[in-house]
């Protein structure tokens, strides 16, 4: 029944909308949180975002898949006639593929956007009007990116070892997780800070990787030590070389000879630092970068204009 003319109304009184609004009741409110508490809340949310079931499964699948691919690649290479033994392939494969390509990629994808996503989604405005300092938000988001990146990096490395089952030395099971963690920490710090400073963080990250981790790291001479890759490789070789050398003749010959850089043999090798100094350098770089990130975040204007 559709009625054409609307019946005249009675007096004009405030309309009771279908959802009653009770203004009086409101929850008790407490003052500003201790910084650590704020940190844990923001980090918790970041982890919850990263470890969503769908993304979690996809990430694990990719990591294990890549690990398997590298392992099989190494095995395929190993069967070719006059090629060096499988252990050598694994040893060099990790150095070439994992350290120089995949771990930076994991850091770029998982840690890079973790802070800049808040800017892109403009949800940073909610944090700016809440009693949580900008430093806490930046560091908490960063850590909520580093942890998954470290875990997935470890998964990648260990899946290589597992699929290759080349009788790798036990030291590997401790060294690789450490390596994955430091890669995620240092490279993650760089990408996260770049994401915070530049509007197109991803491109800045790629530019950095290309300039520093490819060109500078590939230059002969001590300039290599400027790149993060050098220190990561120092740590890697420092931790695993003795164990691998025992088991693999190929590794031994490579070590006894000049330590040739895996990527371009022409470059006259730079001797690696001992693992302790490598760890110090990596931590130092990460700290410096994070300080730059924090000072930027504290002092910048957040216009959040699209």
């Amino acid at each position: 029944m559709s009625h054409d003319v609307i019946p005249p109304a009675d007096a004009k009184q405030p309309v009771e909308a279908d959802r009653p609004i009770d203004v009086a009741s409101h929850a008790p409110r407490r003052g500003m949180r201790a910084p650590l508490a704020g940190f844990l809340i923001v980090m918790g949310q970041g982890l919850r975002e990263a470890l969503q079931p769908k993304r979690l499964i996809v990430s694990i699948a990719i990591m294990v898949g890549l690990g398997a691919a590298i392992a099989f690649g190494a095995r395929a290479e190993a069967d070719r006639p006059f090629r060096r033994d499988l252990l050598f392939q694994i040893w060099e494969g990790i150095d070439l593929w994992v350290l120089q390509i995949l771990l930076p990629l994991v850091a770029l994808i998982l840690v890079g956007p973790v802070y800049s996503r808040e800017l892109r989604q403009r949800t940073m405005v909610y944090h700016l009007v809440r009693p949580v300092s900008r430093t806490t938000v930046f560091l908490a988001r960063f850590v909520s990116g580093v942890l998954p990146a470290a875990v997935f990096g470890t998964l990648l490395c260990l899946s290589i070892i597992a699929f290759a089952d080349a009788g790798a030395p036990p030291e590997v099971w401790t060294a690789l997780p450490l390596l994955a963690f430091f890669a995620a920490l240092v490279l993650g710090a760089i990408y996260c800070t770049l994401g915070a400073i530049f509007k197109r963080g991803l491109i800045a990250g790629l530019l950095y990787t290309f300039m520093m981790e490819v060109i500078v790291a590939g230059l002969p001479g001590n300039i290599q030590t400027l790149s993060v890759r050098f220190h990561l490789r120092s740590l890697y070789h420092g931790l695993v070389d003795p164990a691998f050398a025992e088991r693999s003749e190929g590794v031994r010959s490579r070590i006894d000879g000049t330590m040739q850089s895996a990527s371009n043999p022409l470059v006259e090798a730079v001797p690696f630092d001992p693992p302790q100094t490598a760890v110090m350098m990596l931590l130092g770089i990460a700290l410096a970068i994070l300080i730059i990130g924090v000072t930027h975040v504290r002092s910048r204007d957040f216009a959040l204009k699209d």
């Binding site: 405030p14 309309v15 909308a17 279908d18 959802r19 609004i21 009770d22 203004v23 009741s25 409101h26 929850a27 008790p28 409110r29 407490r30 003052g31 500003m32 949180r33 704020g38 809340i41 923001v42 949310q45 919850r48 975002e49 969503q52 989604q121 403009r122 949800t123 405005v125 909610y126 944090h127 700016l128 009007v129 809440r130 009693p131 949580v132 300092s133 900008r134 504290r298 002092s299 204007d301 957040f302 216009a303 959040l304 699209d306």
Partner: protein, 308 residues
């Protein structure tokens, strides 16, 4: 926090992005009650709001929110709530989780935050969409989420940037009433909007910005009175316009008379004398005057004159 410091103080604020001047020596104080913030696009409204929320740092002058400068000082934000203009969404999480997270940042315990978030979402009418992710929300529902987020922690200073944007009529009326009620409660509300009649319905005091400067600050009546250069237009509804016109012209206050359908429109520079004369004329009954309606005393007219 003493009552004197409650609210917002802007002391000769200037702000520019590169060479673009966004605010030019803006001074204003916002105490308890609802204040309307108006101005054409690009007048500096959103810059002002971001300065108050501590997102931007003024190049000159000082911003005080509840007595302290908000930039990089999160403790000020415990009592501040902002409903931003642009859509700010957490696409992966549900509305309830997102709001619980944000409310916990306000210093509430997990349980309090969860309860407060739920109540806030119910308050804005999202009770049966708590579990759904905000990405699937319609424009109106996203706006309600933003409002819930601004009110969940019961702030004293609430800044609303285009609060009714995208809401349907029932929603608009509900939230207008809510804003009025919060203002009546003594909270300091700043409502920035382009829809003047809605601002007029919630705020008595209006601050008008244009080209980064404060053009006017007061109730729309006061502002109209302070614009003497614009004569007041009054429409007199009558069945005998010609006859009425003869009398009106005789009144010295009447500057110009125009015939419009249904009566006359009269411009006058001396409203007091003019209205007295009209009253007298009406009571004398020489000519029937059914209605007297001032046409440009409302906020839209005031705004038009100010930003001409």
């Amino acid at each position: 926090m003493s009552a004197a410091q409650a609210g917002i103080v802007l002391d000769r604020i200037s702000k520019w992005y590169g060479e673009v001047m966004a605010l030019n020596e803006v001074s204003a104080e916002f105490g308890p009650g609802v204040t309307g913030l108006l101005g054409p696009n690009g007048a500096g409204k959103s810059t002002l709001i971001k300065l108050i929320c501590g997102m931007l740092q003024p190049n000159l002058g000082q911003v005080l929110v509840n007595g302290k400068t908000p930039f990089n000082r999160p403790s000020v934000m415990t009592r501040v709530g902002l409903c931003p203009e642009q859509d700010a969404l957490y696409p992966q999480t549900s509305a309830w989780n997102a709001l619980t997270y944000l409310t916990r940042l306000q210093g509430f315990s997990a349980r309090d935050a969860r309860m407060g978030a739920r109540r806030a979402l119910e308050r804005v009418g999202l009770e049966n969409d708590l579990g759904r992710s905000v990405a699937g929300y319609s424009k109106g529902m996203r706006q309600r989420f933003k409002l819930a987020q601004a009110l969940a922690h019961d702030p004293d200073v609430i800044i609303l940037d285009e609060p009714l944007n995208g809401l349907d009529p029932p929603g608009r009326r509900t939230f207008s009433e809510l804003i009025r009620a919060l203002g009546a409660e003594g909270k300091c509300l700043l409502v920035s909007s382009h829809i003047l009649h809605e601002v007029e319905s919630v705020a008595r005091r209006i601050v008008v910005l244009n080209f980064g400067r404060v053009l006017a600050d007061g109730t729309s009546r006061e502002l109209r009175r302070e614009l003497p250069e614009f004569p007041l237009t009054v429409r007199l509804t009558t069945s005998e316009p010609a006859e009425l016109a003869r009398h009106i012209v005789a009144i010295d206050g009447a500057r110009r008379v125009e015939h419009v359908d249904g009566g006359l429109e009269v411009l006058t520079h001396h409203p007091a004398e003019f209205f007295d004369a009209v009253s007298e004329l009406a009571t004398s009954g020489t000519v029937p005057i059914e209605a007297v309606t001032p046409m440009d005393e409302d906020l839209e007219a005031v705004f038009r004159y100010l930003t001409q």
